[in-house]
Symmetry: C2
Subunit: 319 residues, 2 copies
DNA sequence: CTGAAAGCGCTAACAT
DNA sequence: ATGTTAGCGCTTTCAG
């Protein structure tokens, strides 16, 4: 084509205000420039930061984002995946609720690329972006051991989650390496709340001197309960947790945590998904494992001065 | 049609696994069963809870949700609205970043229904779901006055936001009614941080005995700074804030706040939008103003016992 | 009341 | 290299 003509055409496009119609493209068999995101709960800070990162990254690549909160129900996930397949979106990022994920495999049969986030797919090797749950927990427990603790209690949820069991596994491994006895207590509907369990734990024979909480909700509840029992943290009971949160620096003492690269988790998921969309099924599955950071604050027993100098903001939050 | 035939057809539909193709419908001129949501930041807890509520409500009505974080930039809002118009979605819910919102009017010209959330549209009367910012602030300030405070400082953001100016307005009105002198201090890039400002405030002549923070971020920063200055809250300085947050009950003392019905805000926005989608432009614009709740805790000076009995969880959060 | 056909805007295959 | 056309799956209109 002569560049003269091309220029004329472009001018006409602008003049008329022509916009390609996506519905027609999709009808013709192309995929919509839309990414799907399924998370258990969009109101949960961890998932919300992921969702935000994913949406921003998707927008940069000129994709819109369909977001769904599954409410921790796999049947909702299933139903929404069906809808996404019908809408011919370009790909899905999913933080699955439960271990069974056969319904996602139906999506893959429909040639819809999927990236697993935070929790991998069982029974299949699939693209995934994860975090070094096990290793990070080991570093955290080792830190408590270095503080001289021998009786370290692990408080965790009853829920069967990949992240949880990896963290419990990391705790076990670190304790074994230090030749210490493991103590694991579950929090949940059948086993009772933190407030109900802590008194009996403190009355038990090998009384723990430190607590590792596998998630921040438990950590906050533990700290509150210890305070209402007038136990000094960290001197009478040390505390450390997996997963940073806003209140961790607002409570006193500030809580020592493993900080996850939440924002990067989302960004990497998008990059991986976009690559997969481009390449189709030519490449084999990729698993990206991101490094976490041990953020030493006060609740583990480290000095206040040291804790303040190391204080970190949670990434991905408004200033 | 005979019901015999109808039954046969339905059976065939199920057998074949027929699913209507939305792209074809849209191409034919119908609207997609998709709602659009534009918020400043999906990682912000307030917006995240709204987004979650909206998505859940939309799903119940069999709509999917396209979500966008504008990053507080109106040009992103503008661009994303354009994309939503092109995609022929059914309607938009928007928490606008700034006061100018001419770009949303272009959407309304394209017969795309819009509901404003948390902040109303300027220059136009449009469907909106809001909160009684002004009245709630007055109740909160009156509560501080009842505690005997005469010097009440209002700490707020520099940002020109509807919610902010309403809250400042409520503070002014309550102070005037109590015949007290108003004191307003801005926090922001030009005026400095809370930590920078508090010392000078405490050195000023009519020394405030109570602080009202127009948002929870400021409240948390104020409490932290007061604690690092070894000032007892509430005895040496009372504190109360607009907008509840997780850390409000985790800090000590627990912070007295105006609690917004965040989850309901989202639900109402969806109902209103769905009504508008059904009715077209036949009905006139509706403004829904939701009631807030004054949650008395400890930082205002109320007794600990009273505060605990009234303690409330933030709605819309995972358990 | 049932059946056939046109056409939404695009792409891909084909013919010029 | 350029132009033409069929058809994606649905709705709507018009004919039978």
């Amino acid at each position: 084509v002569s560049r003269d003509t091309e220029e004329k055409v472009r001018a006409a496009i602008r003049r008329i205000g022509y916009e390609p119609n996506e519905a027609a493209k999709v009808l013709k068999g192309q995929r919509a420039r839309i990414l799907g995101l399924i998370v258990p709960d969009l109101a949960d800070p961890f998932f919300a930061i992921c969702a935000n990162a994913i949406q921003v990254a998707a927008r940069k690549a000129e994709y819109m984002t369909l977001m769904v909160a599954s409410g921790h129900q796999s049947n909702v996930e299933r139903q929404q995946v069906e809808m996404m397949i019908q809408r011919h979106i370009a790909g899905i990022i999913i933080i699955p609720t439960s271990l069974d994920n056969d319904h996602f495999l139906t999506a893959r049969k429909n040639e819809l690329p999927i990236v697993w986030l935070d929790r991998p797919s069982e029974n299949t090797d699939a693209d995934a972006v994860l975090v070094d749950n096990r290793e990070a927990t080991m570093r955290l427990v080792e830190h408590l051991v270095e503080h001289g603790h021998r009786q370290i209690l692990c408080m965790t949820e009853e829920r069967k989650l990949f992240t949880n069991s990896e963290r419990i596994g990391g705790y076990m491994q670190a304790m074994r390496q230090a030749k210490l006895t493991t103590m694991v207590r579950m929090i949940g509907s059948t086993s009772g709340t933190v407030a109900e369990q802590l008194p009996s734990i403190l009355a038990s024979k090998p009384r723990p001197t430190a607590i590792f909480a596998t998630c921040n909700l438990i950590a906050a509840a533990v700290l509150r309960q210890l305070q209402s029992m007038h136990l000094d943290v960290p001197h009478e009971m040390a505390l450390a947790a997996f997963d940073d949160f806003d209140a961790a620096t607002l409570m006193s003492p500030q809580i020592t945590v493993v900080q996850q690269p939440v924002y990067n988790l989302g960004c990497n998921a998008v990059s991986l998904l976009l690559e997969r969309i481009k390449s189709g099924n030519t490449k084999s599955a990729t698993q990206i494992v991101l490094k976490t950071e041990l953020v030493i604050r006060e609740s583990c027993g480290c000095g206040v001065a040291k804790a303040i100098s190391k204080r970190k903001a949670i990434p991905g939050r408004r200033q």
